[in-house]
Structure formats: structure tokens, C-alpha cells
């Protein structure tokens, strides 16, 4: 086996381990998929009628809910990463000739896959509720690419948070900001309609350009400047998350 293929093979083995964990704990997956759908039903059928967004509310809210579905499932990843570090199994991996990063990449890939599954579910439900995007095939491709990028970025950041947390409980709490941030963005209502202060925060926080880009792509006219900001934020988060995770892992492992 060559020097390059060892980390890949190790990551594949770790990925299989993490997938088994996820399958053993179906409530986590169910929860991560169900909660955004419940949110969707609430916003579209309960609150949405009162919001004036200039278009059909389901068309407006779906991009926000797609991002929400990504961040909602992260808590379990942080918990899993942290319990890997605090339970004995990591000591076994550390004294084996196993690629160091494989423990982390396994978690990242499983988390990203879970995000994509949740997003597929939310888009399916959206269509059932009358979501009719004007996106072309190319726009869809762009949207999927962005969702993938955001998922990977959020996964690395979550893995880092999980590694940095002192205990399993605090690891779960560490991802709460990632779940709360979409509420303070243009996910459910345009930023211009918000109170001063909140409005500036919503305009400048990372989820707004991401959601706006997604919204633009799905409605068939992607905004270039927002897209740049969205990609920059995501790439930045991925990089910071990755570097933070790796250095924390080295320190703890």
C-alpha cells in the first residue's frame, strides 16, 4: 500500500465506523430531518401568511430552511467527536499505525452526508407544499455545490467545537450558536424589515449571503456579490474549522 492510499483507506474504515454509529442511533437522524420539516410547516402555514416578502412564502422560506437543516444536525456530531476523545477508544487509535486525520475525516464525511440527506428531505417536502423554483439545471448545480460547501464547512467547524469542548454536554451546547444564527438572518424574513441593530447584524452575518445566494440560484437569478461573500465565508469557516480541529486534535491526541 502506498503512502498516499493509507490515509484514504483509514478514512474509509473510520467512515464505515461512523456510519454504523449513525445507523445505531436513528433518533439523531430522524430528529435532524424532522425538526427542520416541522419548522417549515410552521413558518409556511402558520406565520408565513403574515409576512410580506413579495413572493410566495414557501419560495422565500425554502432556501433558509435548507441552511437551517444543515446546522440543525450538527449537535450530534460535536457530541460524537467529543465522546471519541473522552472515551478510551481514541487511545487505541493513537498507538496504532493509523493516519491521524482519518478519525476526523470520518466524522466530517458522515456529517456532510447527513446534511445532504436532511436537505433532500426538506426540498422534497417543499415541492409537496408548492415550492416552484425557477432555477435552471445550472442554477441547481450551483445550489447543490453551495449546500455541499456549507455542509463541509459547518462539519469541520463542528468537529473543532467538539474537540475543544471539555465534556460531552458542553460539546452539544457549543453548536447552539450555529443553530440560532439562521433565525437572525434573512432566512424567514427580509433583513430590511427587522429592528435596527438586529437588522445590521442580519445583513452582515455569514448566513445571510449564503441564504441570499441560494435564494437567488433557486429563483434563477444568482446575485454575484452575495455569491462571492457566501463562498468566502464558507471557505473561511472550512479552513478555520479544519486548522482548529487539527491543532486541537494534535494537542489532545
Amino acid at each position: 500500500m502506498s503512502a498516499v492510499s493509507i490515509p484514504f483507506a483509514d478514512s474509509a474504515i473510520m467512515l464505515r465506523r461512523n456510519l454504523k454509529h449513525t445507523m445505531r442511533n436513528p433518533t439523531v437522524v430522524f430528529n435532524a430531518i424532522l425538526f427542520p420539516i416541522v419548522m417549515m410547516l410552521m413558518f409556511v402555514y402558520v406565520f408565513g401568511g403574515a409576512f410580506n416578502v413579495g413572493e410566495k412564502y414557501v419560495d422565500y422560506a425554502t432556501p433558509g430552511l435548507i441552511v437551517m437543516a444543515i446546522s440543525y444536525g450538527l449537535g450530534s456530531t460535536a457530541t460524537a467527536v467529543n465522546s471519541d476523545m473522552t472515551k478510551g477508544i481514541i487511545n487505541r487509535f493513537k498507538v496504532m499505525d493509523v493516519s491521524r486525520g482519518s478519525v476526523l475525516t470520518g466524522h466530517v464525511i458522515v456529517t456532510a452526508v447527513r446534511c445532504l440527506v436532511a436537505d433532500a428531505a426538506i426540498i422534497g417536502v417543499a415541492f409537496a407544499m408548492g415550492f416552484r423554483p425557477a432555477a435552471s439545471a445550472l442554477d441547481w448545480l450551483g445550489a447543490i455545490g453551495l449546500v455541499l460547501l456549507v455542509s463541509v464547512a459547518a462539519s469541520w467547524l463542528t468537529v473543532a467545537l467538539g474537540l475543544a469542548a471539555k465534556s460531552v454536554e458542553s460539546a452539544g451546547l457549543a453548536t447552539v450558536p450555529l443553530i440560532m444564527l439562521p433565525f437572525l438572518s434573512s432566512a424567514f424574513a427580509p433583513a430590511q424589515t427587522m429592528a435596527p441593530g438586529v437588522r445590521q447584524f442580519a445583513e452582515y452575518q455569514p448566513f445571510t449571503p449564503i441564504i441570499e445566494t441560494l435564494r437567488g440560484l433557486l429563483s434563477g437569478n444568482p446575485p454575484a456579490s452575495q455569491a462571492m461573500a457566501a463562498v468566502a465565508w464558507s471557505a473561511g469557516f472550512a479552513l478555520v474549522g479544519y486548522l482548529w480541529a487539527v491543532s486541537t486534535f494534535r494537542k489532545r491526541a
Partner: protein, 323 residues
Amino acid sequence: MGVRPGTDGEGMRNSDIAVSGLRKAYGDKVVLDGIDFDVTAGSVFSMLGPNGAGKTTTVNVLTTLLKADAGTVRVAGHDVASETREVRAAIGVTGQFAAVDELLSGRENLRLMADLKRVRSGGRVVTRLLERFDLVESADRLASTYSGGMRRKLDLAMTLVGSPRIIFLDEPTTGLDPRSRRTMWEIVRELVTDGTTIFLTTQYLDEADQLADRIAVLDQGRLIAQGTPEELKRTVPGTHVRLRFASLDELDTAARVLAGSTPDDQELTLRVPSDGDSRSLRALLDRLDEHMIDAKEFSVQTPDLDDVFLALTERTGAEVIAQ
């Protein structure tokens, strides 16, 4: 110290673990204060010491988990600091706390090890280990449902996947019931028969006595004695003959007749210092015969490792006070 130092005449070729001048401190606290030892390939080396003596720190350095502050450590012929990968490929480690994946079954845990170590025909290796460790019935249950003893067994089984050449066992029987302890001992003996080198830490003297070819006693970061169990026992004077009598009268007479003896009036026993060889024993029995004294019980007592350990650690305790 009276016990010969760690190097055997055979030289480096035969040593699977070679440690010299190993030091490790956490801030001001010196955990390992320059220790040296050698472990011959295919032997069991036991490091004995009370809690906090530095046993686990030693294991962590030897297994590449921790960097030493000073000294050289070679494991399987490779330097632990610069040839970490080679060392890792040659060793198996079972720590104090069972390192099993609780969300996987016993079989899956073993399979994971087989995959990571690229063991060919992993399925067969896994099945054989499950049988050997008597885990077949619970093989497909999650490890989180296992009892403490079962987890330790699974943990050791995971260590054995891929047949590592050197195995480190850090207090492998702490907290196990007597039967699981025996099983663990049997497994260690089997491994040695197969030519595996074993580094074992323990707080139990009988365990070291049962298993080890050589013992090193670690106390406050220093090796205060090294040798075979017999050599260590010989360092403590105390082989004696114990006689039990039927009456106090007989005990008193015997105590007067046998020089240097100490009677115990409660137990009706007499402790007589002796070399324990046949000549001195015959002399002792002849002496009893001359005075027509009849002992009900007769036994030769050699010091056990507990005596050795207490004597050694007391001695260093006194040194510390003297400083």
C-alpha cells in the same frame, strides 16, 4: 541494592525494549527520574509499584503516547521519538481503561482492528479471537452492554489482532474478579509461549510473581530494584522455619533450646531463622529430637514479594526523610 542491574550478558540484539536515562516531569513534579531497564525478547517484564509511582507514564512513553524529557527508548529496535510509525506497527497496548467502541458489537470492534491493521482473512482472525476469549455468545451485542470483565477481555482481544510482537499491559487485572484474573494470566502465558514480549505493570505482587521473568520495582519515579522474582526475594532476609506446638510448656522449652527464635504465645508458634536448606533443617529437627520436643506443625517460610516490596519502599522512604 544487592540486585544485579538490568543488562544481561546477551547484549542489545536480544532486547525488545531498551530504556536508558528516561526522564519525565510535569512542571516541577518529576514523574520519572532517570530509569534504565532492558526487556529480553520473548520474556515477561513486570513493572511493580504503588499508585502514582510512574508506571502509566512509563507505558505512555514506551508506546509513543508521550514524549520523554530525556533519555533514549528503543522498542522493537526502533527509537520511539524518531521512528514512531515503526514502533506503533510492532506493538499492542491494553491500557487501564477498556478502549472499546461502545456503539459497536464485540465482533465489529475486532473487525475494525483487523481492517485498520490490514490483517488478511480478518474474518477468521476475529472468529478465532472471539472463541479464545469466550465471547462468541455476546459477539453481536453492543460493547456498551458488556460487563467490566467482558470489556477487558474484548479490549485485550483487540490488542492481539494482527499478532503484535510486543504487548504492553497496564494493570490488566485491576478490578477483575479472581476468575477473570486467572483467565488473563493464562492468556499472558500462552502469548509468551508464542514468543511475544510482554511488558506488564501491576500493583499486585502475586501477579508479578506468577507471570514475570524479571521484575523492576518503581517507587517515586526511580527503579529501586530489578531482578528475577527469586533474586528479589533473596534480598530480604527472612527465610525461617515455623513450628507449632500443642502446649505452652513445649513452646517455652523449644524457645529456650533453639537460639534466635521468637515465640508467639497466642498462636503457640515459634519462628526460627534458617537458610531453608536440608542440612540446616536436619540440624534443627535433630535438636528438637534431643530434647524430646514434638512439634505439631512444621513449615519453611520464604519471604513473599509483599515483604520485599514493603522492605524496599520503607528503605527509600527512610532515605527521603534522611535527606
